[in-house]
Symmetry: C2
Subunit: 150 residues, 2 copies
DNA sequence: TCCTTATTGCGAATGAGTCGCAATAGCATT
DNA sequence: AATGCTATTGCGACTCATTCGCAATAAGGA
């Protein structure tokens, strides 16, 4: 992480949370450093590396706290645990393959027609940010692999 | 459940599973009786009422077994546990509200344009049967309720 | 430096299943 | 109807990912 980025985050933390602890700061930095998505377990592991002795429950509590103030968010990628990401990670939706687990990002506009239809027909505001679109990726479809997940 | 429906199910069980036990039969009947969706816990409760003494693990094992042979299926409705349904429950997708938890069924055709786009652009076969479409229902959007779920 | 109270670490508890294993019971055969 | 094979059951212990209660600690304002 660059020094300037780190200072930005620190400023945001000061503004948005009552107290800035090393644990909180490192947890946020860990998530912001990694471009992609991280599970809570991944975050516990990496934070422990950077700050030996942190308690897993502290990590879990801070994931909630940081999400409450809007600095991070999480997305459910099919089966399995949620993935966390920085709030400013760029706008996109996810496709997740139920067979190989591979995920890819797609442009938000891809879903806008469906979202419009659902809004018009049912008044329903679909949210593809919080749950990925589940299915079978090109590679698994081509090779005819079967889904053995629950 | 009608007598004829019950006999149909029994015939299917005989054909598709090595042994027909009372537990297995009652579990399948319970799911087929209820038009809608049931959580595993709901099924344990109802099966226990019909057949006192069944073990929860027997119910869980049979849910897997019945799903493996294609008699039932389950769908993930946002947060929370999966819902089971008879395999012949009629083809439709689900909208689930993340705020009030309300669900509604929609015609499969509603999503076909998006599915076509995803297939053409990414070779991805989206499956809206296994994961519901998550968002905010008309009523919650109207009254501006906020999402407090994880 | 002191004080208030938010935050931490610890370990126990939770929810929703899953697993190992001995006992039971379908059902094909005699 | 009795027998034998083995699928299935019930039980209880276990897992996984997370949450909770609580006493000790430590931010950060006065």
């Amino acid at each position: 992480m660059t020094k300037v980025r780190s200072e930005e985050l620190l400023a945001q933390l000061k503004e948005l949370t009552p107290r800035v602890t090393p644990q909180r700061r490192v947890i946020l930095e860990t998530i912001c450093d990694r471009g992609g998505h991280l599970s809570a377990e991944d975050i516990v592991a990496e934070v422990t590396r950077r700050l030996p002795g942190v308690s897993p429950s502290t990590v879990y509590r801070n994931l909630q706290a940081l999400e409450n103030v809007g600095l991070i968010s999480h997305v459910h990628m099919g089966h399995g645990v949620a993935q966390y990401q920085a709030a400013d990670h760029g706008r996109h939706h996810h496709l997740v393959c139920g067979i190989c687990g591979h995920t890819q990002q797609i442009d938000e506009r891809t879903t806008s027609n469906l979202q419009r239809s659902l809004l018009e027909a049912h008044g329903f505001e679909a949210d593809f940010d919080h749950f990925a679109i589940y299915g079978t990726c090109a590679e698994c479809a081509r090779t005819g692999r079967a889904n053995s997940e629950g």
